[in-house]
Symmetry: C2
Subunit: 361 residues, 2 copies
Amino acid sequence: MNPHLHAIIMAGGAGTRFWPASRSLRPKQLLPLGGDRPLLAATVDRIAPRVPAERVYIATGAHLLEATAQTVPSVPREQLLAEPAPRNTAPCIAWATATILRRDPEALIAVFPSDHFIADEPAFLAAIDRALEGAAQGCLATIGIVPTRPETGYGYIESGALLAPGLRQVARFVEKPDRARAEGYVAAGNYLWNAGMFFYEGRVMRAAIEAHLPEIGAFLRRADEAALRGDEAALVARDFSALAAVSIDHGVMEKHDRLAVAPGDFGWNDVGSWESAWELAARDGDGNALPEGSVAVDARGNLVVDLTTTGAHKRLYSLAGVSDLVLVETDDAVLLIPRERAQDVRAIVDALKARGRSDLL
Amino acid sequence: MNPHLHAIIMAGGAGTRFWPASRSLRPKQLLPLGGDRPLLAATVDRIAPRVPAERVYIATGAHLLEATAQTVPSVPREQLLAEPAPRNTAPCIAWATATILRRDPEALIAVFPSDHFIADEPAFLAAIDRALEGAAQGCLATIGIVPTRPETGYGYIESGALLAPGLRQVARFVEKPDRARAEGYVAAGNYLWNAGMFFYEGRVMRAAIEAHLPEIGAFLRRADEAALRGDEAALVARDFSALAAVSIDHGVMEKHDRLAVAPGDFGWNDVGSWESAWELAARDGDGNALPEGSVAVDARGNLVVDLTTTGAHKRLYSLAGVSDLVLVETDDAVLLIPRERAQDVRAIVDALKARGRSDLL
C-alpha cells in the first residue's frame, strides 16, 4: 500500500432521481442502492485495499455533514470537508487536494464519486493501479469505462496511443453525444465513458488549477494561509460559495496536455435512476425485485422498494398482471411509475416544489 | 309508512374481492365503498324512508356480529341474526322471516343485500313501492334492474305481462348467460338483472318454504317451538349449519307460480370489484381517483386507496405515466393490479391461503 496515496470522495450530490427514497437530507449516496450498505459506505470499503479510511477525505454539503459522519464512522471526522454550497467538481477537488497537500506534499490522490456501483472490485482495483501509474508519471489520469451500449447520458473519452499496458493517452474529452454519435463511438472501440474518477500527484493538480483556474488557485492560497492561522473554516464560509461552479473536466482536464486514461470494465453502474436500481437488485425468475414474501401473479419486471418504518420487511406486497413498474413506499410518500419512465421522478419533484411541499423533498 | 313493513338485510358475505381492504373480520359490507359510509350503513339509511331501523333485521355471520352492531348501532341488537355458518340465502331468509312473523303475523317483508350501491335513492324507493304492491297482492315480488350492458356475471329475470303500472309478471328466472345470450337479453328489452331483492307477505313466503323446501320448513317449526321455550339460540347453533345451502332463487322463486317483478333503473351497482369501486369513486378530469393532495403526471384512470392507519390522508401518492391501475394500501398488505384484472385479487388471496397467511385474510 502506497502511504502517499489519499482519496477524495465526492459526496455532495443532492439527487432527486431517487425520490421519495432520496430527500435533501438523505441523498442518493446515503441510500443502500444496489446492495445492503449505503453507496458512500460501499465506496469507502471498495477502495480500502488501496486507501485506508484514515487517508480518505469526503467532500460533502454542510447540511449533510452529520448524516455523512454516521454513514462512514471509520473516516476521521476532520477529513469530512463541508462545502457551504455546491460549486460543481473543480472547487471541490481543488480544496480537498490543497487540504491533503498540507498533510503530505508528496500526496498521490485518487478522486471517486460516492454514488456509483461496481460489480467486479478486483478489476476495479486493477484499473486504479493502472491509472495511478499514469499519475506517477505526472499525468492527470482517469479511468474510462468500456461502454456496453450507445448511452447518450454520459460524456465520452476518446483514447489514443498506448502509454503502458492498460494505460492510454487521452485524445479528447467528448460531451454527451446524440444517439448516432454514441453508436459511432461504441463501434469505434476507442471511446470510453467518463465516470468522474481522477488520479494525480497533488502538486500536479495544484499547478494545473493555478494555470487553468486562477480564481480557484487564489482561493487555495488564501485557504492555505488561513489554515496556518487556524481559521480556514471562516475563510471557506466566506469565499467558497463565490467560486465559479465549474467541473474539473471543463475547468482542468480538457485544457491539460498530459492526460492518461485506464480503460476499465468492472460492471460499473452510475445508479442513475430507479431503472438502475432495478438492474442492480436481486430479481426472481420473472424479473421482479420485490420485498421478501411478496406475492406475484403473472407479474414481470417490477421493482418494489419498501422504506416505510412500520412496514419494512413486514408488509406483504401483492402484484398481479402488472409489468415493468416501480413502486417505492416511504412513510409520507409513495411513487408509482413505469420503469422506463424513471426520469419522470423529476417532474413529480418539480410539481411538489411548485406546491411548496418542500417537507417532502 | 306501513307499520307492518319489515326489512331483512343480508350481511353475511365474506367477500375476498376487495382484499386487502376486505378481511374475514371486515368484509365488503363493512367498508365505505362508493361513499363515505360502510355499504351496510348506507343500506340501512337508504331504506329508512320506508322501514325504520327498529323494524330492520340483519342476518350476518356469528363472527361478524360485533363489527356489524358497531356499524349500524341504530338497529336493535336483538335484531341481528347470527348464522353459525353461511348456508346461502334460503335458510337465511327463511329464518329471518320466521323471526319477524313471531313479532308480526301480518308482516310485509322486504329483503335487501347489504353490499350494493344505489345512486338514485328516490327512484329506488319508488321501485320498492311497486314491488310491495305485488307483495300485497300475494305475490313473491322482486326488483329487476334494467340492464345497461350485456353483463355475463348476473342472473336475469324475463318479465311478462303487466300486472300494474311498473309491475310485471315474472316469465322465468335465467342463469348467468354467455355473452351472445346476454346481448340478446339486452336487445329484447324485457330482461332484467336479478339483484337479490325480495318483497313478500311473511306468511306467503313461509308457506312457499314449507311447500318447496320442507326440510327448512321443519327447521322453522322447531325454531318457533324453541323460541317459545326461550332457547332458540341453542337450536340454531345445533341445526342451522345442517341445512342445505340453497339460494332463495333456486329453492323458492323459480318454483313458485305467483311472481312479480318491478323494473328498476336507479344507478344500481353491485360493487363487485375494485373496478366497481373506481366507477363509483370521485375522479379527476383524467379519470384518476386518488387520495387528496396526490400528484399525477400523465397518469389516467388510476384508483389509489390508502387505508393505512399512519398514512391515511397524510401520505402523498405520486404517479407518473401509469394508466388504469389499482393500488390499495393497508398497514400490512399492498395490492397492485390493473383495473381490468380486478378479479385477479382472488388469485392473490388463494396464493396467501396456500402459504398459510390467514393472518392477512
